[in-house]
Symmetry: C2
Subunit: 149 residues, 2 copies
DNA sequence: TCTGATACTCAGGATTCCTGATGATTGAGG
DNA sequence: CCTCAATCATCAGGAATCCTGAGTATCAGA
């Protein structure tokens, strides 16, 4: 077993990039949960709404794959959003087993209501970043995501 | 309400950086859970072990703050790790209400056992990254984390 | 037509994480 | 010295999340 001299933190290897990613996500999720608490939607539900905002008409199964959860779990989440009137499901004319999901006006209102605070949170995360660094950060994150399948 | 022309994805605004961070974390956590399943520890438990590997002697409350969960939740997690013999708690000589947590040899063995696969996962995430880009990625992540308090 | 894969859902249970409450300890201020 | 607020840890109970397993309907291809 390796002997460590006096527990000096600077002795240790730097944290892995996997860990750094997790830390940033944990910090943002904590802030996002707090921010969304009054509205009664969780960070995960809000995320699903933002996905639908960008890609309207996704199915529950597609959302599940996008969020790395089982179709059953996403069915629960989607059911909750539907009961709250934030989304609506309708049969897909192209395939009778699929149900396409759309934001309702109420869902869009909820997104619009919180957009400024969420943008502020993102700006806070990027404090001290130049515009160039923001672009680089976006590029690196997207490439990391793509590399993981 | 805004009218969208034909659902063209390229019409949409790019996803927020908050979302991109979440996507990378979701992808890595899914892979990490799968990777760790045989060992019976969750990704969160494994993460706590790696934190202790770098900073031995933390208290449960410190770990909780580090992971953005309540002290009660961390107490559950720490209790599970202790029952499995991966960590040991001992009273802090400097303060009788604190318990310092240390990895056991068994805990260190578990980390060593999975280190190669975890490193491989990180390498996979960084596919196509130059050494320079990896350093930049690390710097940006650390600054983002620091900016969030 | 038959077969395998996919989409969705229900039922049940395991896990995780929370709120609330309790006890012990500490340090600051009167 | 003596409150008293703050901190550490933990127990109890419950809410939320996510899973496995099972079942139905639909689709696509051999």
């Amino acid at each position: 077993m390796m002997v460590r001299r006096g527990g000096d933190v600077t002795d240790a290897a730097p944290p892995s990039l996997l860990y750094s990613v997790k830390q940033v996500e944990l910090a943002t999720r904590a802030r996002l949960d707090e921010l969304l608490r009054p509205s009664g939607v969780t960070a995960l539900q809000y995320t699903a709404l933002t996905v639908l905002e960008r890609r309207d008409g996704m199915s529950s199964a597609e959302l599940a794959r996008n969020s790395f959860v089982t179709p059953q779990s996403m069915s629960d989440l989607v059911g909750a959003l539907e009961r709250r009137g934030l989304i609506a499901r309708s049969p897909d004319p192209a395939s009778r087993r699929r149900h396409v999901i759309s934001l309702t006006d109420e869902g869009r209102e909820l997104l619009a209501l919180h957009a400024p605070a969420v943008q502020h949170l993102e700006d806070e995360m990027l404090t001290g970043f130049t515009a160039r660094e923001r672009a680089v950060f976006r590029d690196l994150l997207n490439r990391a995501r793509a590399a993981l399948g």
